[in-house]
Symmetry: C2
Subunit: 412 residues, 2 copies
């Protein structure tokens, strides 16, 4: 029987923040504090960058009171990084691990971070350095393959759904056309969560556009015209990555944003460029203002908001299920790490069929998760401008309870 693997561990966080990414981190730390196969737990400052710079927090003795406060703090408490390590970079990572006798590596992040953990794991195996690397999932984009859903998504979806609840009442009160741009460059998962906001008939969002369903300006205008003619108002949920029905050299649909910058090159002769974070929403608002009129011939009241970073970092308003699951995937990664043969894997959730929401946890080889992403199921996108009820069943338990609301229409 081989001797038990004992040594130091490194934990890191990567990519864009979420509201519960520190829950996973605290799950790792608390479990490592209890585990005798982990001697010191090093927290890499700013992800892989902290590793190659040998810049760590020492976490084995971190006090629980502080950890529980950090668990409630949004965004990566260790600091994050946008670096995408190549072969050369990963060699430096492994060199640092050897130097520090690091035998366990826990990397919390999306599909790119998963790939980093995989490369380091494979490299260590090849060089005969015994170590175990794990990917711990987080992404508000909810686009990891194999995973039923990813920690971070439920809280972001709760924020977006609540934003649309508020905006629906704002818009009922002062009717007009309102566009809200939601995060999601490649997949429409987060934009879909806007549909959780609906309670009464005719509640918004009335139109929902996701990258998976290419959209022409003409279709958008026809959709808005149809809704506005019927209701006298219209709330539109738009993914930042919505696409046109035209593919680039790589075979991917071209986004509205790319198309807009192309057009701008032609149109603008000044310094000012329509290229900021508010640009897509403002562009759609201007398109509607230019092309549609209300029945009396007057200009429409059109306004756009871009929900922005709040979606991934708003504090004090998280999904409880999301927070608990985020902690558990972190804890489990450390538990698995005591066992030979579990390395090079990602901790994922599977939903147990049945009326009550329940998940089971397991591990899958990282290459099943890394790099490629997962779109919304095609059959969940309805008429290119709405999301099916199937999505609601999927998402409700992840988001939890939403604010109670009421209207005087109930008096009827």
């Amino acid at each position: 029987m081989a001797a038990k693997l004992v040594g130091n561990a490194v934990v890191g966080q990567s990519g864009g923040p979420t509201a519960v990414i520190n829950q996973s981190l605290v799950g790792v730390i608390l479990q490592a504090q209890k585990s005798d196969h982990i001697q010191e737990l090093l927290g890499a400052k700013h992800g892989v960058r902290g590793i190659i710079n040998d810049d760590y927090y020492r976490l084995k003795g971190a006090p629980v009171e502080l950890l529980e406060r950090i668990a409630l703090t949004p965004s990566s408490a260790l600091g994050s990084s946008r670096d995408k390590p190549d072969e050369e970079y990963c060699k430096k990572i492994l060199a640092n691990f050897k130097k520090n006798n690091v035998r366990f590596f826990f990397y919390i992040g999306g599909n790119d971070s998963a790939d980093t953990a995989r490369i380091v794991n494979d490299m260590a195996t090849k060089e005969g350095y015994e170590m175990r690397c794990y990917h711990i999932p987080k992404t508000i984009d909810n686009d990891l393959r194999v995973h039923d859903h990813t920690p971070g998504y439920g809280s972001a979806a709760k924020f977006v759904a609540s934003a649309f609840i508020g905006d629906n009442y704002d818009n009922r009160s002062l009717p007009g056309i309102k566009i809200n741009v939601v995060m999601g460059r490649h997949a429409g998962w987060l934009t879909a969560s806007s549909t959780l906001a609906r309670k009464y008939e005719n509640d918004g969002p009335h139109l929902v556009y996701v990258p998976e369903a290419p959209l022409t300006e003409d279709k958008l205008l026809a959709d808005v015209d149809r809704v506005y003619s019927k209701l006298g108002r219209c709330i539109i949920a738009v993914s930042e990555g919505i696409s046109v029905p035209e593919k680039n050299a790589k075979g991917h649909y071209i986004s509205w944003a790319e198309k807009m910058s192309e057009n701008l090159e032609r149109d603008s002769h000044g310094n000012v460029q329509l290229s900021g974070s508010g640009a897509l929403g403002d562009y759609i608002a201007q398109l509607i203002t230019r092309k549609l009129r209300n029945p009396s011939g007057k200009k429409l009241r059109v306004r756009a908001d871009t929900l922005g970073y709040l979606q991934r970092s708003f504090p004090g308003y998280i999904s409880k299920v999301d927070a608990a699951e985020a902690r558990e995937v972190g804890r489990l990664a450390v538990e698995y790490s005591a066992q030979a043969g579990t390395e090079g894997s990602s901790v994922y959730m599977t939903r147990v069929p049945g009326n009550e929401y329940k998940v089971t946890y397991d591990i899958t080889p990282i290459h099943n998760v890394a790099r490629e992403t997962k779109d919304l199921p095609a059959e969940w996108v309805v008429d290119g401008c709405d999301i099916s009820e199937k999505y609601l069943e999927y998402a409700r338990p992840l988001v939890g309870e939403l604010p109670q609301v009421g209207t005087f229409d109930e008096l009827k």
Copy 2:
């Protein structure tokens, strides 16, 4: 002794929504249901527009269960209006009141709505029609004179402060320059609330710009350069109404937004105009990107968000003090209306000096509140780019508890 005034009452809501404007409405309704001087309580649909269209909900019998849900619902449950009634419009209002034997009018809104209640009250007096009109304050802008603060502000400030807490951790995790544009066309009250987000040294926002302190592009760039050189990151809170040190014909400072559109007229030859809701933030981001470089000579990571409508309508995340006070000003207006001589007034709060937060309620003639607004005290604006600690003392009790946070810097 004159006979007791008995008749019907109208309640209406006006202007932009808040998260607690329905608390005031429910305060009015519950008190009216208990009051025998009010026979029927009519809820005007979409403010003054509902009155002249004779379009009302009948509220005296509205069930408490529904009312309590509506109290938690953001935005005006009766519907709102942007109409600013002139003399002619007010005549129609009074005609409708006479027709419906309306003897009490409760109007929930900002300074413009206060003025409407005042005109109708004066008109009724002049025509010898006995009636009593009241203004019930609401505005996230917090800019009503006489009022220590206004219902709606505490919840909006809690949202903004929390948004900056989240963004501060986002920015610590992935450093760069971040601009957040906050509501407030004329006064910086809401933008000031961003400073409630600070807990540790070097927490953002690092720069705060309000309309009351005119700002040049050169000062902005020098401020950002100073902060970024020191911290390697910079979070900027900007009121949507920030001004340049240049006055218009009316003697008011010209806003950056006005200045931008002037410049655009000159610069742009295409259809696309930088005039949407995201425009100010994107403009500042582009200004910084164009003019500043990081020490290594590389482009800075600059990004802008515009917090948008969420500030006034996000549900499920209100200030408890704000909700309770909003309900109380509504309730009191109805209580006052049983008393002759109280008409034509606005219900306001005064803060009781002392260590514990406490307010008293009273009424003041509407003309003290209507039309003109209240700026941030000049001495609370520090160096044209920050807000004094005095503001924190003022605002903390209105906002209540903010999310708990922690960082590993505490390990040192």
